[in-house]
Each structure stands twice: as C-alpha cells, then as structure tokens.
C-alpha cells in the first residue's frame, strides 16, 4: 500500500512539472510585457522607461528561458502568481477569494450525484428489464443529452421566475450569515451541475453491477445458501463499487468544467465565473493560472481516488 501510494505520488510530480512548464510557455508566448503581471500596477504606472529596463534586468527577464521558468515556478510555489492584467489585483487573492464558493458548489454536486447515481444504478441492475429499469435508463440518457446550460435556463425560468421558489442566482444576500440561509441559493446550481454526473454514474454503476452479478462468485454465494440481499449487497454491490469510484474520479474534470458554465448562468461568484470573465477580457495570465489551478485540483483529486480504490480492492492494496 505504501509503495503504491508513493508511486502514485511520484507519478504526480513529473506530470505537474510538465503542465507548469506548458503553462509557462503559454505565458511567455502571450502578447504583452511580462513585467505587467509581475509587478503591481500602481508601481508600474509611475515608472520611467529606464527604471523599467532596470527592473527587467533585476527581475531576470533577460535570463535564459529555463532560468526564468524555474524562477517563476519557485515564486508560484511560494504563492506568488502575479497580478491580474485588468484589475491589477494579485491572482492569488482572486483565486483564494473565489475558491470557497466553487468548492461548496462542486462538493455538493459531487456528493449528491455519486450517492444518487450509484444507488439508482444498482437498483436498476437488480431489477434488470423491469419498467423502473427501462425508465431509469431512458432518464439517464436524457440526463447526459440535455445541454447543462439549457437545463439551467429552464430551471431558472420555472423555479425562480414562474414559481418563485428559489433565487435565480447569486450565492448570498445581505444579512445572510449561516449556511442554512444560503442553502436556497445553492440548490439549483448544485442540481444542474450534478445532473449530468448523476446520469453518468447511474449508467455506469448499472453496468458495473450487472457485471458483478454475472460473476461466478455470485453463484458460489448462492450455493452457500445465503439470502438474496446478502448476495446482492455484499457480493454484488461491494465489488461493483470499485469501478464506480474509478469512474467518479475519471469524471471529476467534467464536473469542474461544468461549473464554468453553471457559475456563469447562476452568477455564482466562483472560479469558473472568474475564468469566463478572464477569457472574455483576454486576461491571459489569469486564464493560465486558473487552468493550472484546476489541473492541480483534478490531479490531486484523482490521486485521492486512486487511494480509495486501493482501499476498496485488496488486489491493488496488497500488490
């Protein structure tokens, strides 16, 4: 297990290095002066040309490429990601002020989609061919086919504008302090964000469960005289769980990607909304850094998923 964990970690590091390198190449290739996002805008505004050249020398912008990359990497590791081109705010501040909102949204969506999806999928597999199975299968298919933003628009139209049950956007209102106060704001975006994932997890856990149920050890379990619930849950469900966890890990990038669209529509003040704004404003340093952030998040999350998989499956754990 320790070797496995360490190996997975060791694979993570070169991957991150390559990605940061690519991001840095992207940054270098972007038009505009690198100084502009390395120095605060106030300082920059009052600077003469000579001072600027001195600064370039001092900042090492005339050094070889690889040196500049390493220096940049070093600063990034210490939390200095440079400044936003448009607002002049440090990128670090932008990211960290938006992070909680995005985390809240994605964790909510992840939790409900995984739970609901796997339970529905397994139930569907157990009743294979029944009306419930067929309707769930069709519903799942519809779930992955409707564009997320269309789903969002329709739900805003119905639940906010027509019925007036839930707010149409934003994360909070003046005077709201507790999570419970904010909860109504979270429901619609989290539902919309999770719906595709739920459908995906459901379809996958159905086939995973069917696969597990077709295995010989199910027959063995029955041949011991075990009751059906035990056969289905302990031998079927338990084994079918591992591939589902792997799939959830695999789908994480999609969930994070989905939040870009959902945050935009619901005016959710998260990283995704910031990202769209940055792309629209051609604020490339910010675009790059947010991309780097999400990749890192995905890689760390899939590392955690690997660990859970190993805990679930002794064949990996005891390798």
């Amino acid at each position: 297990m320790l070797t496995y964990t360490l190996r997975k970690l060791l694979m993570l590091i070169p991957m991150l290095l390559v990605i940061t390198f690519l991001i840095y190449v992207g940054l270098e290739l972007t038009p505009g002066d690198a100084v502009s996002y390395m120095v605060g805008p106030d300082a920059l505004a009052n600077m003469s040309q000579e001072k600027l050249n001195e600064l370039r020398e001092a900042l090492g912008l005339n050094d070889p490429f690889i040196v500049r990359y390493l220096r940049w990497l070093g600063r990034a590791l210490r939390g200095d990601f440079g400044y936003s081109l448009t607002s002049g705010v440090p990128i670090k501040d932008i990211v960290f002020s938006r992070l909680p909102a995005t985390l809240e949204l994605s964790v909510a969506a992840l939790l409900f989609s995984t739970l609901l999806g796997s339970i529905l999928g397994m139930a569907s597999a157990l009743k294979k061919g029944s009306i419930m199975d067929v309707s769930l299968t069709v519903a799942g298919m519809i779930g992955v086919s409707i564009p997320q933003f269309f789903f969002a628009l329709v739900s805003i139209l119905i639940f906010s504008f027509k019925l007036g049950w839930l707010p149409s956007g934003g994360r909070t209102m003046p005077g709201y302090t507790t999570f419970l106060d904010r909860l109504p704001h979270l429901i619609l975006p989290a539902l919309v964000l999770g719906i595709t994932m739920t459908a995906g997890v459901m379809r996958y856990s159905r086939s995973s469960m069917l696969d597990a149920l077709s295995k010989d050890y199910i027959k063995t379990a029955r041949s011991k005289g075990l009751p059906e619930w035990r056969v289905n849950l302990l031998h079927g469900f338990r084994v079918a769980l591992t591939p589902v966890v792997v799939l959830v890990g695999f789908r994480l990038p999609m969930l994070i990607g989905g939040s870009v669209v959902v945050e935009q529509i619901f005016q959710w003040p998260g990283i995704g909304k910031e990202f769209v704004a940055a792309v629209r404003g051609q604020n490339l340093p910010l675009v790059m850094m947010i991309a780097l952030f999400t990749v890192t998040a995905v890689l760390v999350a899939s590392f955690l998923v690997d660990l859970i998989t190993a805990l679930l499956d002794p064949r990996i754990r005891l390798e």
Partner: protein
C-alpha cells in the same frame, strides 16, 4: 418463453439471415427511434433552403420579437430574424463542428493508438503520458484556454476539438490493440515475418473498429454539447454565424429568458433531441458490436 418454445418447435426460428450486429441493432427500439430523429434533424439542416424561405441573417426590424405564428414557426428574435430558419441553418454549423471535431480526434487518436498500442515501447509510453496531460485538464477549461490563445473562429474550434479530444480515443484504441495483440492470429502473422504496420493497420485495426465507431458517435454528441456551451458563453463560433449555441446566447438576457421563450426553448429542445438520438444510436451500436453479449 412459451412463445419462443412453440416457435422453435415449429422450426420458425431456424432461418435467421443477415448480420447478427445489424439485426441486434434493429431490435433495439430506442436506437431505431434515435436513428429516425437523427435523420430528420440532419436532413432538415442540410436541405434548409428547401424547407424555409427565410434567410437566417435577414434582419426585419418591423417584426421584432414576434411570438410563433404560421408566418414564423418559432417566432422572431430581437432583430426580427426568423428563429426557425436560424435553427435549421445553425444545425449545419453545429453538426459540422461536432462531427468534424470527433472525426479529427478519431483520426489522430486511432492512427497513433493503433501503432503505438501494437508496438508498445517508448513511443507508446510517451504518447500515453502526453494524453494523460491532455486529459487532466477539464475539457472546457482546456478548450477555453486554447480559444483565448488561438482566437475565435470556426476552423480554430475544429482544431481545438481535435487537440483536446484525441487523448481519449488514443487510450481506447490502444487498450483495444493491447487485448487484440494477445490473439493468436497476430502471433501467427508475426511468425510469417509480416511488417508491423501491415499487421497493425490491416489485420488488427478492423477488429477494433466496433468500439471506435461507438466512441465516434458518442464524442460527436459531446462536441455538439461543447460547441453549444461555448457559443452560449459567446466564446465559440463568432456570433454572426448562426449556430445552435449562438441562438441560445440570446437567453443570457434575462428579459428574453423570461418573456421571449420561443427564441431559446425550441432550439434547446432540438439540441437535446439531436444529442439524445446520437446517444441512443451509440448505445445501440455498443450493444450490437459487444462480443461479450453475443452468444
């Protein structure tokens, strides 16, 4: 069961001709339904000039925001353009982008995956790592990143979809090839000393085509969804070209969202129906070509 038993006794089930895969696909009602919906939407888009007399770009400020009527089936938008015509013409671009992106990704992914999967070695290891890096990015983030570097245009979008999509096709083709590589007929061809490319592309690839075709349909659906999402955000195909996503872009305006539902609801339904039909076809194909389900 009893019906089957009777039919079998009478020998009625003995003469079933034709390909098992085709038969299996046609038995799948949802897949056939999907094929029909797919064909209707596709043909309507291709033959748009024959179906509607309106020019999708024609601005008619006298009839702005008019609700659906016999004159304008889906009504008109803020500039008085006929929405029905825009949906039909928009389908051309959206389908082209979706299918083109999937095809581009498949071409790159399959041709690399077939050879690297068969040969293994350093080439395979490097490509595997590279595809891992591409796949670590959330798809839409990578697409937007590339959009902001390359700029917005139809061709750029196709290129970007190819760049972001080849990784998963590569990995799937590769894993297919890895399992086919163990088949004894491949060993036999090796024992005859045939060249690697001949073995990989001529003899092995046809046996991996089933899953590749399934993947092609499913990724077409995915890219259509992605194009519409990007265009909806105003970051996909330039806004002056009608695409499904660009039409929906109007719904970002809260008044339109609330008051002029005909501008965005029909096109949303068309997109959903089209993607759904592709997914049903893909699912039907998957069941039909899956060797484990044949018996």
């Amino acid at each position: 069961m009893d019906r089957l038993k009777m039919l079998e006794k009478e020998g009625l089930l003995k003469s079933r001709q034709g390909s098992r895969a085709v038969g299996k696909f046609l038995q799948n009602k949802l897949a056939v339904l999907g094929l029909m919906v797919f064909a209707v939407i596709l043909l309507a888009s291709v033959f748009a000039p024959l179906i509607t007399k309106y020019d999708p770009a024609m601005i008619d400020l006298r009839s702005r925001l008019s609700p659906p009527s016999w004159q304008h089936l889906f009504g008109t938008d803020k500039l008085g353009r006929d929405v029905f015509a825009r949906v039909l013409y928009g389908g051309r671009i959206s389908i082209l982008v979706g299918f083109g992106g999937a095809l581009g990704a498949a071409l790159v992914g399959v041709s690399l995956g077939t050879y690297a999967g068969y040969k293994g070695g350093w080439l395979d290891r490097i490509l595997l790592r590279v595809s891992e890096i591409f796949m670590a990015f959330p798809q839409i983030i990578l697409v937007l990143l590339l959009v902001s570097i390359l700029g917005q245009s139809l061709w750029n979008l196709l290129v970007i979809f190819t760049i972001t999509g080849w990784g998963s096709v590569y990995r799937m083709t590769r894993s297919q090839m890895l399992s086919i590589r163990e088949e004894e007929y491949v060993q036999a061809l090796k024992a005859f000393g045939l060249s690697d490319a001949l073995i990989a592309y001529k003899h092995m690839l046809p046996n991996a085509l089933g899953p590749i075709m399934v993947n092609l349909t499913l990724s077409t659906a995915m890219f259509i969804l992605e194009e519409t999402a990007l265009s909806f955000l105003g970051l996909g195909v330039p806004l002056h070209i009608p695409t499904w996503g660009n039409i929906l872009n109007a719904a970002q305006d809260l008044t339109i969202l609330q008051e002029a539902w005909w501008i965005w609801v029909p096109v949303g339904i068309v997109i959903s129906a089209f993607v759904l039909s592709i997914n049903f076809i893909g699912d039907g194909l998957r069941d039909a070509v899956d060797p484990t389900q044949q018996g």
